[in-house]
Amino acid sequence: MMLLERIGTFFTIILQLVSEPITLAILFGSVLLGIIFGAMPGLTSTLGVALLTALTYGMDTATAMVCLLAIYVGGTYGGSYASILINIPGTAAAAATALDGYPLALKGEAGRAIGLTTTASAIGTSISMLFVVSISPIISYFALQFTSFEFFLLAFFGILISGTLTSPDLVIKGWISGFLGLFMACVGRDLLQFYPRFTFGFTQLDSGVEVVPVLIGAFGIPQIIQVLKERFQIGETQKLQRIIPEIGTVIRNVPAIIRSALIGVGIGAVPGIGEDIAGWVSYGTAKNTSKHPETFGKGELQGVLASETANNACVGGAQIPLLNLGIPGSPPAAMLLGALMLHGVTPGPMITFEHPTFITEVAAILLLSSLAMWVTGMLLAKQVVKVLRIPPPIFMPIIGMLCIIGSYSLGLNIFNLYLMLPVGIICYFLTEMGYPIAPLVIGVILGPMADENLRRALMVSQGSFMPVFTRPVSLLLFLVIVWTVISQFQFYKNFKNKLVARLRRKKSVAAVGSNGPPAEE
């Protein structure tokens, strides 16, 4: 009965919202703004939500939530545009999308890739909405199983997996790049005892290395140099006709989409980590479970689908601890928390008593946002792909300008430009030497989390590493990390091949023994 009643409220709320033209206008406006924020390197969905928060003060709570959730959903999706079209992720969340999205664009299938990511993102958000409305108390119980050790291991895993996935030749290069990022994250005052590390007396470095200038410098500058150096036109733009949703392709990938959405919801629900790590983990899972992992990184649609579905599913996942415990699940959700409190809604365990329909309302708004995103995305995709027709000698300098503005716009801090340029130039040489860049950026993003939580965990356990093995979640994470490392070594691969071969032989022997006809090879 409860459930039926809830479904009833759900549709009433949707009808109410849809029947008001102003709400609809705000919905589409915010989604579009979000997509623009996401697509522009340097402007992130966190910034978008933060900027809009103050504007929503005059609105009622429901309209404000429409505005903020729509920009959040749009921003998370919009990052894929820049990833696919110019190989510079618009947001960190879309970094994994660039791995296969850009090769697709080079093949002339940019439109197809964008069309599919649009559908995948919408499905991801919708699936996450189902979780918000149905079993969010259970998920928030699991979110509470995360203490400092788990946060450390998760952050470390995020850096490691992005290194494993992006290396073109030797996997160790990816890890080296990740640890370079981790090292950069250590610059600044440490978060527990406030000791300045590697700041060389520069007060600007006290607060550490900011993510956005590193993101833009590391992805943007090497790409600009590369394109201008090789004088090629990105992708053939003739094959634009396939932007209409490819229902067939989507249906074929339904299991992969659902898996990616589950990963996104799960990671979103863990406090403090967001879309970026969700994209990587999902991409990694897709690659590892694929029958043809060698096609990943060369324009594999499944790769794009995996990261985009997961990062959008993360939006809903992040609402779960936010609404049920008052703990933001991702950086933009932290902004949402502020906005909610501004409207007199204090999220927490009492929310179902104080605002009984609020969680259902959020779910309804999420569904509407994903629909609006899908419609807007489908209309935009065809137009957006046309930017590739601009000749690189004109297009790339414009991107360069955007990079500079993007780095500076964050806090209007000129120091960020001094940071962006050297990072970009170093990253160009790293790229030339075959070191992937994404792990470096992920290292900078997740580094503070790894550093702070490891040290706090050791404070709590008084210097003992034992909790890693006694706590179930951390043991699981630890084993996954060990497996990630070991599976890259040759002896493991030999061992695995032998094992598989032996199993196969046994099976065929067994088959011969029981059934008579020999098993096919």
């Binding site: 978060l191 607060s207 415990l325 502020g338 906005a339 706090r456 709590v460």
Partner: protein
């Protein structure tokens, strides 16, 4: 002729300047909150600035710049911006400790503070711990010093100082684990990573009423009636010795560099006084267990220099400070 032209121009220029100066604010104002989003200082700033925006006619954009010692990164950042009234610094009483902790090399009176108010602190435990009353907890901590883990947002924060005061007033010793803000420290207490947490009632009330945390005592002389939970007793009842160290009250608000143009400051004061008297702010304060203050100018300066010397010397005596407050010219309380 020439002379009169010059005089005319001069008058015009003067008028223009006056008109120009009167125009504050001409563009959006940025409030740099030095604590994390969703915390007490952040919410308070978002509420008051949203109301002030209406009276100022421009938006006040609230951003968060956390980190450093006692919010020093955000404070240094806000202070490094031009002192024109367009950059405010959202802060709280805890920031006065940045000086003695080596993150801020000036006295606190370089700021003109606007105090919105504060919420009283409460000491709570994870519900599945055996501590039903404050006495249970303190006795357990006394029996085995440093065995019980206690959380509060970063070292030198008001919650940490309240925890230190509880230790001093009762003789118990906890194993202090710092977190990045109130929300993560409460999360750690709910997850059982730590057993004890000290944050403000405003930040904890949802979790207390939802049974995710158990309140043991208010860290003010009075008990507090919480709707749907009953009365939380004052911890002074069982440990009168606490009155020597407590209460250390919150003073949340924002600040503008004291040498900003007077005209800009008076516009801000005017908007602030109007904003704090609105029903919206009043009802928000009541719903969220805040006591409003509204102090500005000399009044808030006096409050903050008292807080500064109190905090700085307490920390110094506790050995938690790295810079001698005497070196900074902070008088003893």
């Amino acid at each position: 002729m020439k002379k009169s032209l010059i005089i005319c121009l001069a008058v015009l220029l003067a008028l223009g300047t006056v008109a120009y100066a009167k125009d504050f604010p001409k563009r959006n104002i940025t409030a740099v909150v030095v604590w994390g989003a969703g915390g007490g200082t952040d919410t308070c700033n978002r509420i008051i600035h949203a109301e002030m925006s209406k009276f100022l006619g421009v938006n006040v954009n609230v951003i968060n710049k956390t980190g450093g010692v006692a919010g020093s990164v955000g404070m240094n950042y806000a202070f490094s911006r031009p002192h024109d009234g367009y950059t405010l610094c959202g802060l709280s009483e805890s920031n006065v400790t940045a000086g003695v902790q080596g993150g801020w090399d000036k006295r606190f009176d370089v700021w003109d503070v606007f105090i919105v108010g504060g919420s009283p602190d409460v000491i709570s435990v994870t519900p599945n711990t055996p501590y039903k009353t404050l006495k249970d907890l303190i006795e357990a901590a006394k029996a085995d010093p440093k065995s019980i883990k206690a959380a509060a947002s970063g070292a030198g924060s008001i919650h940490h100082l309240n925890l230190l005061a509880v230790e001093n007033g009762s003789g118990a010793k906890f194993n202090f684990i710092p977190y990045k803000g109130s929300a993560p420290s409460q999360n750690a207490a709910m997850a059982g990573e730590v057993s004890v947490v000290v944050t403000s009632l405003a930040e904890q009330q949802q979790l207390l009423r939802g049974g995710k945390l158990r309140a043991l005592g208010m860290l003010i002389p009075e008990s507090f009636e919480v709707q749907g939970l009953g009365t939380i007793p004052s911890s002074f009842d069982s440990y009168p010795g606490l009155s020597k160290y407590l209460p250390i009250s919150q003073a949340i608000g924002f600040a503008v560099p004291a040498d900003a143009p007077d005209q800009a400051k008076s516009v801000l004061v005017d908007a602030f006084k109007k904003a704090i008297a609105t029903d919206k702010v009043k009802s928000w304060a009541k719903e969220n267990y805040y006591l409003l203050s509204g102090a500005t100018g000399a009044e808030s300066k006096a409050i903050f220099s008292a807080l500064e010397s109190n905090f700085a010397w307490t920390l110094w005596e506790l050995g938690a400070a790295t810079v001698d407050p005497a070196k900074l010219g902070i008088p003893k309380p």
